[in-house]
């Protein structure tokens, strides 16, 4: 299936959940990433049950604390 992850369409195994996508994408600090699935936030407790479908759009939003 095709997912649009961080703006780029790529092929992924059918039926993976968000937890698996986070592993496949080698997300840094997976405990603290915010995920938007089809423009809605997914609570971190819901990554296991969020099964992805062809055409889904996923954004990873990262803490970025610097400024000085």
């Amino acid at each position: 299936m095709t997912l649009i992850v961080a703006g780029t369409a790529k092929e992924y195994p059918d039926g993976i959940n968000l937890t698996r996508l986070i592993e496949l994408e080698k997300v840094e600090t997976p405990m603290y990433v915010t995920v938007a699935l089809n423009n809605a936030f997914v609570e971190s407790g819901g990554f296991e049950t969020a099964v992805l479908k062809d055409g889904d759009t996923v954004e990873f939003l990262y803490f970025m604390g610097g400024g000085r």
């Binding site: 405990m31 603290y32 936030f41 939003l61 803490f63 970025m64 604390g65 400024g67 000085r68």
Partner: protein, 268 residues
């Protein structure tokens, strides 16, 4: 208030813009911006806003200029090492534009002073380097109904969003709560490119200029991310969180809150 010939010359490149004109310049001259943090983001933001003719700029920072700051904090010079950053930044702004009223505030922001600090300003720029301050500024601006620009930078990446009361997500909609201290890398541990801070801080200044002049579209309800290594900008639409603890329908945060942070992270 009419502009003098000297002012007409100083601001001529603004005034000639049809979207801007004398009217836009007057709005800037009546505008008041508070910049929190006179560092990597605050330096370019402060210089551009002073140069642009913003009427009053407050600059908040409790630290002194350190040699390790100068790679990116371009409002300070080598001769400023050891000087309070707020004073050094004030001098830098006045050197660019002596007409700007600049208020140097030597303080850390905390739950006890943030509401007073932001009260007199139209737009706030978050140029801080730690999550407790970023959440504090977000909450205070939401509670006070103030527009502000949030930004963060790390290594070769930056991101920013503009909160406008009643429109779009706030910072807490995205991230809910600060991560535990040391859970995510900081610039001090991981590094940051000076010019990256310049790009992102300048974008924050641009948001302030648009807000004050009432032109264009603000970066509200969206997060702009910048990857300097690949020169990629992405504008990610952000949903609002209906149950956001501060801007949601039933907020649990009704006054500013302080989060603990290791003191060493606040001083560099």
């Amino acid at each position: 208030m009419a502009f003098s010939n000297e002012q007409l010359t100083r601001y001529s490149r603004h005034i000639i813009l049809k979207e801007f004109g004398i009217k836009g310049q007057k709005k800037l001259s009546r505008g008041r911006v508070l910049i929190i943090g006179a560092g990597g983001l605050g330096s370019p933001a402060a210089l551009y806003l002073a140069a642009a003719g913003v009427g009053c700029i407050g600059i908040v920072d409790a630290d002194d200029v350190d040699l390790s700051n100068l790679q990116r904090q371009i409002i300070h010079g080598t001769d400023d090492i050891g000087r309070p950053k707020a004073d050094s930044a004030r001098a830098g702004m006045l050197a660019v534009n002596p007409e700007t009223e600049v208020r140097a505030i030597r303080a850390f922001v905390h739950a006890g002073n943030i509401m007073d600090l932001i009260r007199d300003y139209d737009f706030i720029i978050d140029g801080t380097d730690n999550f407790p301050a970023k959440f504090l500024i977000n909450d205070a601006c939401v509670l006070a109904g103030k527009a502000f620009s949030h930004a963060g930078i790390l290594r070769f990446n930056g991101q920013l969003t503009t909160y406008v009361p009643g429109l779009g997500a706030c910072y807490r909609c995205i991230f809910k709560e600060p991560p535990p201290p040391e859970a995510v890398p900081t610039c001090r541990q991981a590094g940051v490119v000076g010019a990256l801070a310049g790009v992102v801080g300048s974008l924050q200044a641009m948001e302030a200029v648009k807000y004050l002049a009432g032109i264009g579209e603000l970066l509200s309800g969206a997060l702009l991310t910048y990857d300097a290594l690949t020169t990629t900008f992405r504008k990610i639409r952000l949903p609002r969180r209906a149950d956001c603890a501060v801007c949601g329908a039933l907020p649990s945060i009704t006054a500013p809150v302080d989060y603990a942070q290791a003191a060493c992270d606040l001083t560099l």
